[in-house]
Symmetry: C2
Subunit: 156 residues, 2 copies
DNA sequence: TCTTGCGGTCTCCAATATAGACCAAGTCTC
DNA sequence: GAGACTTGGTCTATATTGGAGACCGCAAGA
């Protein structure tokens, strides 16, 4: 049995709860309810949350609100290039529902709706920002890797 | 003009390049080519990369390889609950092409293929891990927020 | 001989994303 | 006063994507 197989087995990944991850038991104790949450487990609630947040538009929305402060719907749409109104609405709704973002309507005409981060959203945005910066910093390197890969696998 | 509008205008978000983001100019100088990359800009190469990485399966793959070390195809599939062979193959191929992951084939029978992180992938995985942990820690709070939201918007 | 494991690929169908029209209701222009 | 414009969406039609499951070659095992 390999080391990794041992990790898997100990974690009981099949059951849909808990996986160890070599994080050590101190994190597990940090769950006061004894409820083991595991993003790797298909049936774990945290996986559902993760799947929702690990999305292009949701991440960009949080990053934009964090970087530029509270914004109106149309400001967000302009700021996040290529997002459709539908996806923007949908993602904002999801983030609002999960308590990451607050939606404030000013009943004027034309209507004004402002979105801003709640503490939960601010926490996540702070973890997201480095990923955005990393992507920008490493895009060159990744594009080079691609060219090289495509050269090697050029069976056209 | 609001503060945010000023930020947008200064960044020239429409042109598909650069946006400032209140990061200050020191990061910009860190791009030696003078090429301004911006994940928020639809046409920027870094957005393409970001869109690829900001994906449920890609992120889970990197997190799994980081947490459990090099793994075979079937180990990854078992470890990442609910991933189909098709998506696992596809995501791994993309990560390999971009130089984040290495694929090693051992020509035995049955075949053995092992995936592991390259330095680029390890860097990203280290930024991803906190997001996984955060999600697990905050899932309870987010589920509560949902219940409350659904109560308020219960027009059935 | 029939089955199992591995690491995929292929095909089909359902779900999802995007583009674009449409909306109300007040303001601005002519 | 007619028409255009604005905002924050919704609705619909079409394009893209995702998942389920069949299939594959090859060797070992029952």
């Amino acid at each position: 049995m390999t080391t990794e197989e041992a990790v898997r087995a100990a974690a009981g990944a099949e059951q849909g709860q808990a996986r160890g991850d070599g994080r050590g038991p101190e994190e597990e104790r940090a769950q006061p309810q004894g409820q083991e949450l595991d993003v790797f487990a298909q049936l774990c609630p945290s996986r559902g949350m993760f799947a929702e947040l690990a999305d292009k538009w949701s991440m960009l929305i949080l990053m934009s609100l964090s970087a530029c402060g509270p914004q109106r719907f149309s400001e967000l749409q302009r700021g996040i290039g290529g997002v459709s109104r539908k996806m923007l609405t949908q993602s904002l709704r999801t983030l609002e529902r999960s308590g990451l973002v607050r939606r404030t309507v000013f009943p004027e005409t034309p209507p004004r709706v402002v979105y801003d981060l709640l503490p939960l959203g601010r926490e996540l945005a702070e973890l997201l920002a480095p990923i955005g910066r990393w992507t920008e910093r490493r895009t060159g390197r990744m594009l080079e890797a691609r060219e090289e890969f495509d050269l090697g696998h050029a069976d056209s």
